[in-house]
């Protein structure tokens, strides 16, 4: 009887081991796929919280990245301000700033190290995210 129980325990352990191996392989594949593609991150408030942005004051990301997309929005609607998304290259405006309501979006080719920013025409709560 004890031998039988031991055999069952061994089988369960083997199955659990195979399961864990498969789960581990899947996670590794997912991680590989993730690193091969651009990822989106919050900026301005990097913890994902909302930002109180004064009018005409640019809220920048803290670093520079090979930016492919800058997307910011006004989370509490309806609101009237226009929100703008843009970027700087070495401290100088890189192209234009894209405006809209209730969100803005500026896509880039990804060939430059840029510092993304967002601003509003009237003080508002904002949230920014960048893809690189």
């Amino acid at each position: 009887m004890i031998d039988h129980i031991r055999a069952v325990v061994v089988r369960v352990r083997r199955r659990a081991g195979v399961g864990l191996m498969l789960a581990g392989t899947t996670a590794a594949l997912a991680a590989t796929a993730g690193s091969a593609t651009a990822a989106t991150h919050d900026y301005c408030n990097w913890d994902g919280s909302y930002n109180g942005t004064p009018a005409w004051t640019i809220c920048f990301q803290s670093g520079d990245n090979w930016l492919t997309n800058n997307h910011a929005w006004l989370p509490y609607l309806p609101v009237t301000p226009t929100i703008y998304c843009g970027a700087r290259l070495s401290g100088v405006d890189y192209g234009g700033w894209s405006g809209g309501n209730p969100s803005c979006d500026h896509a880039y080719g990804g060939g430059n190290l840029l510092k993304a920013g967002e601003y509003v025409s009237v003080a508002a709560t904002t949230h920014g995210s960048i893809t690189y």
């Binding site: 651009a38 005409w56 004051t57 640019i58 492919t68 997309n69 997307h71 009237t80 226009t82 703008y84 998304c85 843009g86 700087r88 401290g91 100088v92 405006d93 890189y94 192209g95 234009g96 700033w97 894209s98 405006g99 809209g100 309501n101 969100s103 803005c104 979006d105 500026h106 896509a107 880039y108 080719g109 060939g111 430059n112 601003y119 025409s121 893809t131």
Partner: protein, 209 residues
């Protein structure tokens, strides 16, 4: 008639009734009445620009497709259904349909695109627009704008803060022009649809390279 016969008759009558009910329900193939399911507004069927045949200019260049891919994926927009609606900076202004959204993309002469997306109802009311400010060569108050308009609207009015008005022709459901701070919009059978646009601010001019 004995009690036994009466009982048998009642049982037989009961069986007949049950059979009738069974037959009736079995023959009743008409489904019960259902309220019509509301169909979500579809960009392609809602606007003429997406119904016209694509021409050679509507084939999106691979570089543009790559740059717009992230936004298109996020918004569920279909780059294959996009239409080039105006020329700008050697590239095209794009209108892009989705199942229930429309996106507008203006090329930034330096790199990439300014983009905005909205649902079909918003696009029909003139509240889908995208601007570019702070571009090289733009002065205080200058703004480049694309505004989406519904079928039947062939022009929008840009009213500057300086009081000057200007008519901008719309084609392929889009009005595209360089204007100055003010309002832009149109009137149709559903009312007056104007939005506020702010041009290049002083803050950008002082920081431009």
């Amino acid at each position: 008639m004995t009690i036994k016969r009466i009982s048998l008759s009642l049982v037989a009558a009961g069986l007949c009734v049950a059979g009738s009910v069974a037959v009736a329900s079995g023959d009743d193939v008409t489904p019960p009445a259902q309220p019509p399911t509301p169909v979500a507004a579809d960009a392609t069927s809602s606007f003429a620009v997406f119904q016209r045949p694509a021409n050679s200019g509507d084939v999106m260049p691979p570089v543009t497709r790559r740059i717009l891919a992230d936004t298109a994926a996020r918004e569920g927009a279909d780059l294959d259904g996009a239409r080039a609606v105006a020329a700008s900076a050697g590239r095209s202004v794009w209108a892009i349909p989705g199942p229930n959204k429309v996106c507008l993309a203006i090329p930034d002469p330096v790199d990439g695109f300014g983009i905005n997306c909205a649902d079909v109802a918003t696009a029909k009311s003139g509240r889908l627009w995208v601007t570019l400010v702070g571009l090289p060569g733009q002065k205080l108050g200058d703004v480049r704008i694309a505004q989406f308009v519904p079928d039947g609207v062939d022009a929008v009015i840009a009213q500057g803060d300086d009081g000057k008005g200007r008519t901008i022709t719309a084609s392929d459901n889009v009005a595209f022009a360089d204007v100055t701070s003010g309002t832009i919009g149109f009137s149709d059978g559903f009312g007056d649809h104007r939005v506020r646009v702010d041009g290049t601010p002083k803050a950008l001019l002082s920081s431009a390279g």
